[in-house]
Subunit: 314 residues, 3 copies
């Protein structure tokens, strides 16, 4: 089956998921991001690759972090950005989402950055676009490809490679689009082992993550880990699904300095944010020398630039 996010000539047409994206395409996005980053950091200016382009942020879930990152990425490359206000839009007057999209495309919107609580909304919109590109900024528990890319870039920077690494992802794996996109990207780039940890009720059916090791004991999983990705835990879901409160969760799955010592001495600590200090991660670890959390944030802007440029630059 043809991947809807690639054009016939192999160029990127949409960015919906890292699942199935060729390794060479992923690496080219990381390379472009690193190149744009180097240029920005030396000159505080970038070529206006997106001049004349218009990008629409369509966020059906609140997310200032990701929206701001896309916004800065697009504008620093010279695009116009429209932050579409869903609440006051025609969608709220009963217009279908497809008609809203067609209307904005008729105004020469070139790309839509979409976040939606339902799986596959970005793919559905992609199937309706005439020319515009869809960038998935997170759909349901399915995919968050730019988060995956920024995590890959951060690991590659600090470890020099992805090939052969042992990565542990800990938290609410079952509901996490971040975990899915991380796994797809890590596997494409040759990670040796990926361990998924968390309370039983928040672990996925194994079939959902082929090639991964399900590990309920975080302490065991951490042994010799090169990279530890902690996920944000939602307290309400935690208590509903597991009867664990924050303290009990922290006791079993919180990343403390003591626990971190079980991993490789140069193990990298990551988190997509926003973090719950003292719940899934201790402040000493989040702010410590092994933490790459703010690097992740910084890299987010550059991988989004790379994706926008591959999709929209002439």
């Amino acid at each position: 089956m043809h991947d809807p996010q690639l054009a016939a000539d192999g160029r990127l047409r949409h960015l919906l998921t890292l699942d199935g994206l060729p390794r060479a395409r992923i690496e080219s996005l990381l390379d472009d991001a690193a190149r744009l980053r180097a240029q920005w950091r030396t000159q505080r200016a970038l070529p206006p690759l997106l001049a004349g382009r218009s990008v629409v942020n369509l966020f059906f879930e609140a997310s200032t972090r990701t929206r701001t990152s896309f916004d800065l990425a697009a504008r620093r490359l010279g695009a116009l950005v429209i932050n579409f206000d869903i609440a006051s839009s025609s969608t709220s007057k009963g217009e279908t989402l497809e008609d809203t999209l067609a209307t904005l495309e008729a105004m020469d919107a070139d790309a839509f950055v979409v976040r939606h609580r339902e799986n596959d909304t970005p793919a559905l919109l992609a199937s309706h676009c005439r020319q515009a590109a869809i960038l998935n900024a997170g759909d349901g528990n399915r995919a968050h490809p730019t988060q995956g890319l920024l995590d890959l870039l951060t690991i590659r920077d600090r470890k020099g490679r992805i090939d052969g690494l042992k990565v542990v992802i800990c938290g609410d794996i079952r509901h996490s689009r971040v975990a899915r996109s991380d796994v797809h990207g890590l596997q494409a780039l040759g990670a040796a082992a990926i361990h998924l940890c968390g309370p039983t009720a928040l672990l996925p059916a194994g079939a959902a993550f082929p090639g991964c090791v399900i590990d309920e004991d975080f302490d065991v999983a951490l042994t010799d880990a090169d990279v530890i990705i902690m996920l944000r835990i939602q307290r309400e879901r935690l208590e509903h699904a597991t009867q664990l409160d924050g303290a009990a969760y922290h006791a079993r799955f919180g990343l403390t300095g003591q626990r971190l010592a079980r991993a490789g001495h140069d193990a990298l600590v990551m988190h997509p944010g926003p973090i719950n200090r003292g719940v899934e991660i201790d402040s000493s670890v989040a702010d410590g020398a092994q933490s790459a959390i703010l690097d992740q944030v910084a890299n987010g802007v550059f991988v989004r630039m790379a994706a926008l440029a591959q999709l929209l630059a002439p």
Copy 2:
């Protein structure tokens, strides 16, 4: 009486209504829009006619479609756009609208794009401006001049002329500022006949639309029509005013493929959007070859550019 939207030398000072606007002025706006469109479509770039200009969107009613169109029009010509948040503004602290306007004008705002549920708010604000221009983006049921202009441009593109055409407008005529601005523009440019259709309770007193034919039978009105403009029906108002539900309305006034066949074989189908599929218009018609609905949307950006440029370019 002097038209407040024209300066002493005949130049455009504000854009409040098409009522009374000279034919030459309307045609010059359409010509400018077509010229900007041609340039944009070949080069994806436009001269920064509005560089150094600041445009404030003052929307007292939600309207993402029109607001986004003005926003893109202004920014693609190089203006800064402020989307003024009414809810958190000083207006909500009891400041008069005139004082809010004077404050923003003191910050060198050059134009205000105003939507308001009350008739004449834009004209009232225009009477208070020292130098800034007011663009009416829809006031009450009185006027929506840029919608009128984009409809005229769309018809002129597809029919080659306005002179001599038979146009049918169907829906809630009584409460429609779109109908009023369309009629004013069509009459100024020489349309031969304008028929207004809809349920009795939603038809205007004849005196409100001099020169138009009031026609309760949509099927009769459609005969030999060159252009059919369907208006969005608001279900609540419909049920309140007419006791018709959506299905009953569709039976009498919905534009189906069968009904469309009564008009000229190349009759143009238009709708200001957002559309209620299956109520005032069938999907087969809205998405069919005779539909110009997305052309209307596209042209909206260019007529707004033309208006902003005539009002603000040095």
Copy 3:
């Protein structure tokens, strides 16, 4: 103690308060503002001093007036501006304000414009910034330094000097950050006498405003005043604190034409806005020849440009 808003070399690092800011620094900000204003007014264009810079508006209290002024100031100098939506931000998901700041700083935000109802929030954030600058846009009743600067610029323009002037400030002094920043600036620049007027319950303890005269009788205070700064009265607080209603307040403290005659014949009338016409000030005075209210608004944009340029320009 080292002033946290100055760098070791005396350059501006943050703009938190006028309290303690050296006279030369204040005058340099006013001079820069006047220079930018002259250039803008002759050319309607400014050098892109802030190109490549990103400014984040962090408004925890609604304030369209101040936010729009900062927004225009930054963008007219070429900066990107992010209007951070607190309500839908990670802060609302329990992220600490410090982590939100660190996240945005990791995205290369260069400055944060902060308004907060609590005293010292801007100073707290400044202590957490790695490189970014904090501009206080009003915190609690403590400081509103750009309001102070724009008031100083307005007085200097119209009076030719600050030295030796008699200034009367009237209203809810106790809760006013505007009064505090005005007093700090006026004292730094050599005002001869500052009289603070208002109902007893809204006057500060004298110790809070060293060097000022507390004057409950507005008519007496006005004698020979060079400048009269009227503050916005909040009706709810007024009634709660003083049992005065708007009419009673107006009778004792409203600036009428008759009362204005007690001051110097060329006394300047100022107000930070938004004004309550007929309560603290009569329309005939607010709109009269001695009023500088709209000049204050206009100058606000230029002092904010000057502050941003001193903080961020390379």
